[in-house]
């Protein structure tokens, strides 16, 4: 019995070492973002001799970090708010209305999950240009409404079907109807799935690359964090210490949020995958 326990401990130590090796590339990224150019060039794996925080102040100013952060926030919040709002009310109405038209609309709404973005990217760009939605963070946020709606509709629709009709009926007797009935009575009941949708969509929109590349890459005032890091590395191919600094600054917000909301995020991702 004792040797079995010892074996378990050895195995656990092995797993912890494995996980540290797994994260080693991120560790190397962080330590090299704090080195000088010559230090990066002579030895990547050595710890920095002194912490070169000036890399951060340089990149912070050069890419205008606060502006990028604001852009990411505007795009994500605007996109997410729209997706939640239009998908939840539509999914509720469609789940409650049992007609052929309702079924057809629902089908049309979830069908696009099968369309790969690359298949329509050029036309989306042309469409966005003609509606003046390109080259603007607001425009990009609005575009996400349509791109995020199919999955959100699918998840909401399935959930609303499980909410008994009697709740609507008793609310109607109490005099609530239409939008008021939805926002006062139904929407609070959707809280758990709304959280799931928020988690998957924030991760997606915050990190998205190709759509922002086509829509808002033209001007430094509309770029996102990922886009700026992408362009920055293109310009500084040999100045790895700056490139690594830009990487850390781009991923740090996600990692900090993950550390605080780890359980919710993992749960939300699993729920989203299982339902989607």
């Amino acid at each position: 019995m004792k040797s079995k326990k010892a074996g378990r401990i050895v195995f656990e130590v092995f797993m912890v070492i494995l996980s540290l090796l797994f994260l080693y590339p991120l560790f190397l990224t962080i330590i090299n973002s704090l080195k000088s150019f010559s230090e990066v060039m002579t030895d990547v794996i050595a710890l920095p001799k002194s912490l070169a925080f000036e890399n951060y102040s340089y990149v912070w100013k050069y890419i205008n970090y606060p502006r990028l952060f604001l852009n990411n926030t505007v795009i994500t919040v605007l996109g997410l708010a729209g997706i939640i709002l239009i998908s939840s009310i539509a999914a509720y109405k469609l789940a409650r209305t049992k007609t052929k038209l309702s079924n057809l609309i629902y089908f049309l709404c979830i069908m696009p999950m099968l369309i790969p973005f690359q298949s329509i990217m050029l036309s989306v760009l042309q469409m966005a240009k003609s509606f003046h939605l390109s080259d603007s963070t607001w425009g990009l946020g609005i575009l996400y409404w349509g791109f995020g709606a199919p999955l959100a509709m699918f998840i909401y629709h399935g959930f609303v079907k499980g909410i008994p009709n009697e709740i609507d009926e008793s609310a109607t007797i109490d005099g609530a109807s239409g939008f008021r009935l939805f926002f006062r009575v139904i929407f609070p009941l959707l809280k758990s799935v709304t959280t799931t949708i928020i988690i998957i969509d924030v991760m997606w929109i915050w990190n998205d690359f190709l759509l922002p590349l086509l829509m808002v890459n033209g001007s430094p005032t509309t770029k996102t964090l990922t886009l700026a890091a992408y362009t920055f590395v293109g310009q500084y191919t040999s100045d790895w210490q700056y490139a690594m600094t830009a990487m850390v600054m781009a991923v740090l917000p996600s990692i900090i949020v993950f550390m605080f909301l780890q359980k919710h995020i993992v749960k939300g991702v699993v729920a989203g995958a299982v339902k989607g």
Binding site: T97, S119, M127, A149, F182, W240, V269, V274
Partner: protein, 295 residues
């Protein structure tokens, strides 16, 4: 329809609730999709005002021997198959380990999940740095030959690098799906098998694996849809190189459309990708349905 016909106010409400989402979806999917079909029948460089209608010439040209497209398709198929198999096998093995009661379980799960929250483009750059600079130092300090290979400079190794980096980034996602699946396997069932004298390997194949079937279906489906569209990680890791050997279909479409300004031709390829994805998805869903009936 009949219910709607009864009262105008009901119709109005139905419209008010569903029109916003319909307009948003039509604007970004159906309308562009129609335009895609139209563009695919034209020759257009994006600069001239009017695309020139050329019928099915683009498709004829693609199928009669577009070497880039053929190579990219072959690359994508190879990548997709290896990615789906490897990421799922690894995730199941890891899930079995992390399902055991250990003090560090919480840390281990978080550690393997972290890369999944990072943008793929950035993951590509981080690994480019590791392969180009990091391996040099690691090779110097360990003397291991594995660090001295040209991981991004030789076609076969570059392929493996892309595969490894993709798996590194996403294995945590599949891992948490499998852990959730394992937790729904009843403990007493495993105990009963243990009492009946079934060894750990036997227990895994006769009890755990069949009960994991729903998780496997979800994971394979996700791995398939993601791998067939692989783009971001290649763009930042190899940029299609060395010698254009690591272009995926999605990247090839991007190259033709936005780098070579072959709007019509690139769009025709995009349409072929759509049909391929549709066919594969329908096949997968049919198999999925059939299995559900059996279970």
């Amino acid at each position: 329809m009949f219910k709607l016909g009864r009262k105008w106010s009901e119709r109005l409400e139905f419209g008010a609730f569903t029109l916003p989402v319909l307009i948003s979806i039509i604007a970004v999917f159906y309308y562009p999709f129609m335009m895609t079909i139209r563009y695919s029948l034209t020759k257009w460089n994006g600069i001239s005002k009017n695309p020139k209608f050329i019928g099915l010439d683009n498709f004829k040209e693609i199928f009669s021997g577009d070497a880039n497209f053929m190579n990219a398709s072959w690359f994508t198929i190879k990548y997709a198959i290896l990615y789906i198999v490897l990421v799922n096998v690894l995730a199941i093995l890891l899930a079995l380990v992390l399902d055991m009661k250990m003090k560090s379980t919480t840390w281990l799960r978080a550690a393997f999940f972290i890369p999944y929250i990072l943008s793929l483009v950035i993951v590509g750059f981080i690994w480019k740095f590791i392969f180009m600079q990091g391996f040099e130092s690691l090779g110097a300090s360990t003397g291991w030959g594995i660090f001295k290979l040209s991981w991004l400079g030789e076609p076969n190794l570059a392929f493996i690098s892309i595969l490894l980096v993709s798996i590194w980034q996403s294995v945590g996602f599949y891992l948490v799906i499998y852990i959730a699946g394992l937790q729904s396997v009843p403990e007493d069932m495993k105990e009963a098998a243990k009492v009946d004298g079934a060894g750990p390997v036997r227990r895994f194949f006769s009890i755990t694996l069949p009960l994991l079937a729903p998780s496997i279906t979800i994971s394979v489906f996700m791995a398939l849809t993601n791998s067939i569209k692989v783009f971001d990680v290649i763009l930042s890791l190899t940029g299609g190189g060395p010698g254009g050997t690591t272009y995926s279909v999605a990247y090839d479409i991007y190259r033709d459309t936005f780098q070579n300004n072959l709007y019509g031709y690139g769009t025709a390829k995009a349409l072929i990708l759509f049909v391929a994805v549709l066919v594969i998805t329908v096949i997968q869903l049919t198999i999925f349905k059939r299995r559900e009936v059996e279970a």
